[in-house]
């Protein structure tokens, strides 16, 4: 089922949480709302769910206005960051809850409930935990039970609020791959909120990058990563080095390397990712001189921090192999030249 978000505004006192948000969510897609904390992504998700009301604007489910539909009738599945499992109920009863609270004439029989709950528990591969209580489960297990519980009512949309936010790295990675597979099997329209760009890029069909209550960019993971629409998106989707430059005849420069600058500005900010910088021991006209001050080993890659004459230290990322080959060490004088860059008016 498709969802349309139209001109949604929301304030909390003086704080603008959402500033005129428009968004189309296609049937069956897995969409990520990505942004730093306080950017309004969770508020937007809760408004779509009906847990929060917008000050202005409307929400359409499958073309029908659902703005004033009570959360109970929206038929959405919601997964909370901290699971929100019913602590006094067993796993089985948690999943069965949505079926048991139905009005008598639509409530399935006890046998049907049992069958359905066990099918869902099998889907999340936790059938063997049916008689346990939430407190007896690990974080990853709890979140999978929360997902099974949300799916029990056969929701038209699945909404997940930082679903893996409270889990440790290993479990997160496992669970997000699992969520992706599950989505590929079920094709239920899903929206999940995250502040982790890696998670959004890996799992989602489309990513919506939000900042300060606005949408900065909407696109596939490749689009937002390779063609960031704004400096914010560029910065948020990975580490970045900033260079400030004056613009001469349409060109901005870093050291001596020139990049085309946007028109009609005499200053520019140049963004270069750490892995887009070449490092060498020989001085050239177009390179930036500096001294290596730190070497950080990050598993497969190595980060060098280089102090340059003007501006902040520059981060350079090398593969492990190139680092070993080059035998770079702290205190060495080096010359840097960016291979690629993105230039914004500054």
């Amino acid at each position: 089922m498709s969802i349309e978000v139209k001109n949604i505004n929301k304030r909390f006192g003086d704080f603008v949480a959402l500033d005129n948000i428009n968004l189309d969510i296609q049937t069956g897609e897995l969409l990520a709302l990505l942004g730093p904390s306080g950017c309004g992504k969770t508020t937007l998700l809760r408004i779509v769910a009906g847990l929060e009301t917008a000050d202005q604007g409307s929400i359409l489910f499958h073309g029908e206005d659902a703005t004033d539909t009570h959360v109970r009738e929206r038929q959405v599945g919601f997964v909370f960051q901290h699971y929100a499992l019913f602590r006094h109920m067993t796993v089985f009863e948690n999943v069965a809850f949505g079926l048991r609270v139905r009005p008598k004439h639509t409530r399935p029989t006890e046998a049907a409930i049992k069958q359905k709950v066990h099918a869902l528990l099998e889907l999340v591969q936790l059938d063997w935990l049916a008689d346990r209580y939430p407190a007896q489960l690990s974080g990853g297990q709890r979140q999978r039970i929360a997902l099974a519980r949300a799916l029990a009512v056969e929701p038209r949309v699945l909404l997940l609020d930082e679903p893996f936010g409270a889990l440790d790295t290993q479990v997160r990675k496992e669970l997000r791959r699992w969520l992706r597979r599950l989505h590929d099997e079920m094709h239920i329209t899903s929206v999940f909120v995250t502040h982790d760009q890696e998670e959004a890029l890996e799992v989602a069909d489309r990513v919506v990058v939000m900042n300060k209550g606005r949408i900065e960019q909407t696109g596939t993971p490749e689009q937002v990563y390779d063609q960031p629409a704004t400096p914010f998106v560029y910065q948020f989707l990975g580490d970045v080095n900033l260079f400030h430059s004056r613009v001469h005849e349409g060109w901005a420069e870093v050291g001596g390397t020139r990049f085309a600058a946007p028109e009609a500005s005499d200053k520019a900010v140049i963004y270069v990712r750490p892995h887009e910088i070449d490092i060498q021991r020989v001085a050239t006209d177009t390179a930036l001189a500096g001294v290596i001050t730190h070497v950080r080993l990050l598993g497969a890659t190595v980060r060098l921090e280089v102090n340059v004459a003007a501006g902040d230290p520059v981060e350079v990322e090398l593969t492990r192999e190139r680092y070993v080959e080059g035998r770079w060490s702290v205190g060495e004088a080096v010359w840097l030249s960016p291979r690629e860059a993105r230039v914004y008016a500054g």
């Binding site: 847990l51 959360v71 499992l85 006094h88 949505g98 609270v101 009512v153």
Partner: protein
Amino acid sequence: MSGTQNAPRSIVTTESAPVRWLLTGIALLFVALFLVIPLVSVFAEAFKQGWRLYLAALVEPDAWSAIKLTLLTAVIAVPLNLVFGVAAAWAIAKFDFKGKSFLITLIDLPFSVSPVVAGLIYVLLFGAQGWWGPWLAEHDIKIIFAVPGIVLATVFVTFPFVARELIPLMEAQGSEEEQAALVLGASGWQTFWRVTLPNIKWGLLYGVILANARAMGEFGAVSVVSGHIRGMTNTIPLHVEILYNEYNFVAAFACASILALLALVTLAAKSYVEWAAARQAAEDRRHAVE
């Protein structure tokens, strides 16, 4: 002391033996002097002249009527405060609204106001010379110096117990489980019965036990509104006072022993609730570790 056998006491973190004995001794002496001896003396005085006089003092019509009135008062006041306490705690813990802190202060008011003043408030409102006195007299409704006044005063003084117990508990639990229930299609009523109430049951029971103990033992506020009419508007605490003033010590202590007994039962019930709640929490933790 049993810990000394399993784990040797760490020398660096304890005082020397004489100091330990002295401090423990002072504490025990204090407990004996102010808690144990008075309690024992109540029962000793009550039974001083044998079982028969003790029982006779209790089944005597005025005493029996005081017992019945006390029970009646508790039976009305406690459920009222239960409903009110849950509703107030629910509103305060799960919703944000203007005047919330004012409401919390208001709930605490009966704790900070002297019970005698609380009783006087009702005399001022409903008494013969009070605001609504003439109107009530016209319609032949008796509140002051009658059972309704006693119930009102008791409701007032026991007002905060349940709510005070529940507010921190519910605030700690948050409202995510309720939200989850709503999203799953549960009505407000279903959410309350199936999600909220099971989560607060121990705290609720604890509050009810405390409110009940206070309702049965209240003296000051009830004394002001009751009028001390024997066999009519005397609760057990008031009856004890009258008997004592008449130098009828055996009967006075017999009735007092009922209140003392109630206190002991309350303590036992309270300990059980605490134990049961702690056991459940420990079980949750134990399973979580597994």
